[in-house]
Symmetry: C2
Subunit: 117 residues, 2 copies
Amino acid sequence: MAAQTPRQQDAASHRTPPVHTAPQEVALETALLALADPVRQTLVRELAGAADWERSCGSFDVPVTKATLSRHFSVLREAGLLEQRDAGAKRLNRLRKPEFDARFPGLLDLVLGHAAP
Amino acid sequence: MAAQTPRQQDAASHRTPPVHTAPQEVALETALLALADPVRQTLVRELAGAADWERSCGSFDVPVTKATLSRHFSVLREAGLLEQRDAGAKRLNRLRKPEFDARFPGLLDLVLGHAAP
DNA sequence: CAGAGTGTTCGATGATCTGCGTACACTCTG
DNA sequence: CAGAGTGTACGCAGATCATCGAACACTCTG
């Protein structure tokens, strides 16, 4: 009964999990700076158009290298906008919309409403 | 009837008037970057607490020199947040709240609501 | 185990931003 | 007109940021 194949995350993960920041502890300045970058705006918009844990880090269409992309994800985590979870070799993402909306009402919807040029 | 003393602005002003940008033409990124700076947040909050054309540029309590302050006003004008008008030797300010709110609903109130640390 | 796939970390680089001091322009007042 | 008051323009320094290439770590598959 305990020898099930570990399908998803954890089990015996030897990877350091991503560092998260709760939206309640995020300063307004941090949130504004995170959402001001055009690449991060694209990431947020694509995340909003997908289901939770649907998108892996490499599945986003942005014109930057994976090193830069990794950095952007780090900024979004620190801003309380992104939650990540390891699933096998991939790292899945979730937009923390409810929590972030509770902290900064209307801000995320403003970014989602304005289409990218 | 035409020889009234010119009390306020213009008349025969030999000064180049400030350059403004209409909030309708401001990009979201520009607005977010303008509001992300702590000094500019203070300026916006103090302006919101005063009547239109009540405050001159030098009347704000921010820990920067007047050269830096002038630069911040320029950024706020480009973001569609500030309107300025010359009145004698002074330059008076007005927060463009209605216009800015129409362009980015809720954004300005978010900044005004979060008190400075 | 070897290899492909995924993602992070580490410098280095170039751009941008904030801040300052100085010099300058304009306005009003004595 | 001389001077004080107000604000801008022009560099210049320091900090921060976005970006990249290369190296590394972990996971799954053949």
